[in-house]
Symmetry: C2
Subunit: 306 residues, 2 copies
Amino acid sequence: MESELIRHLRERISADPRAPLGLSDDAAVLHLASPGCMVTSDLLTDGVDFHLDEVDLRRVGHKSLAVNLSDLAAMASRPIAAIVSLVLPRSDGLQIAKQLYDGMLPLAERFDVAVAGGDTNSWDGRLVISVTAIGELPARGPLTRSGAKAGDAIIVTGAFGGSILSRHLDVEPRVREALLLHERYQLHAGIDVSDGLALDLSRLCTESGCGAVVELDAVPIHEDARRLAAQKADGRTALEHALGDGEDFELILAVPTDDAERMLSDQPLDVPLTRIGQFIAEPGLWQGDADGNRRPLEPTGYEHRL
Amino acid sequence: MESELIRHLRERISADPRAPLGLSDDAAVLHLASPGCMVTSDLLTDGVDFHLDEVDLRRVGHKSLAVNLSDLAAMASRPIAAIVSLVLPRSDGLQIAKQLYDGMLPLAERFDVAVAGGDTNSWDGRLVISVTAIGELPARGPLTRSGAKAGDAIIVTGAFGGSILSRHLDVEPRVREALLLHERYQLHAGIDVSDGLALDLSRLCTESGCGAVVELDAVPIHEDARRLAAQKADGRTALEHALGDGEDFELILAVPTDDAERMLSDQPLDVPLTRIGQFIAEPGLWQGDADGNRRPLEPTGYEHRL
């Protein structure tokens, strides 16, 4: 019964002064630092994002919150609260819910996020997890997808590709990284890589009304991408995995050149910052070489189809 | 494709200065009147809340937003924005999404709610609609479930029962009513009736640490409850339908006696306000008669089971 889950959660979740009416009222109260906030929402579904019978549900719970925190990170917003809605299978629903929260709550605690209630239904269909996260409006304004300018460096955090081997569940949202960079350097635009480095970069270009030239030699390739390429399952190279696999949840940033140079020399994060190319006035996604030649680059990645 | 739905919505939804980054970024920006807000979330699922093959999906879209606005109304919070997440069946997903929004957007416009983006997935399962609504923190503070005091009158808006005959989809959230009452009168506690008049009243009592005596003769019975009882499908009386059917989305309020008398004499709303009993110190739900005798009253209604 839903009331049993609420009792369970009341024991697990300590009262948060920012969300004092968390689990007992029709709506939760959130106290904010300023008269504004940022909101994002992401769904995970059994059979698409994970397979219920094959996975540790705590990892799924972790991911369901982490992908939302990654969306807030992409806009340099500090997360405050998350609203969790579950559609549970009738069989074992309560146990499933508890395991999901067992994965979610440590992450919420680590990022100081109040889990502020939500809705819980059950049905004879498969598990659906819908999380909505709310973050602060950054003092310098949110980082958007639309601010990249021709000449800006394309800077990325971390490395790309092969996340399906396991990282795709153990998402580490780049929240602290985004907040630090947004505070110390001038950033023109940002996006997190959920669907693919090339595809998400092309989306940022579209919203900014510009294009991008990627220096393929500079793309940081994750060890997982090399392992996946070595398995030769689909004949794709490690670089192709890095460009199109997605679910890396790293950041792509548009940074003016002076700040980019400073940032690359400082390397202020625990993960590497790498310059992989440059935004240009001409629309489209391009691959460039050291001699300044360029050819079209396909915006590979995962397109959600309806 | 998700991008086609986003294009469709960008044409339909006019730019809202309170949510300027609605559909194009990782998160939406919300500008608020004060440094605080209220958040609620409700799910509707095919097969539980409606039957996809039998229903006008615009009514389902309307309801999915309306039940969230009703939750905000229960706390006297003015709605500002809604985040809509859809899990669509693969077949006809885009058409389904458009019809849902066709039902949702006129309601959003009527209550001045910005539809601020969300997530859209598809799968080979059935339709799930998850809406999260955000409202203002009321200047007088939110109305909660926990403030009822012994001696307070139990005041309800509208009439109850038989909503399944059709009203359960055409929910009219009592937002304006709640805001007006909260501004003009002293209210101690409130809840909206989603699961049943008796059950939701008993929940309010539990959170307030008190009990309630209901004068059964005073309960406003909806015409739909009488029609349903006349059909004798399950042998329940019109009153039993009024107490336990739920999905009326009317308000139950705990009001100090002086304000209750003033409110009942003013009748300031388009819907009737009715006193149906009194909160008492002794816990539990009771039925009372004119002679002051009382017997236990079962908290009938719809319990969500996991």
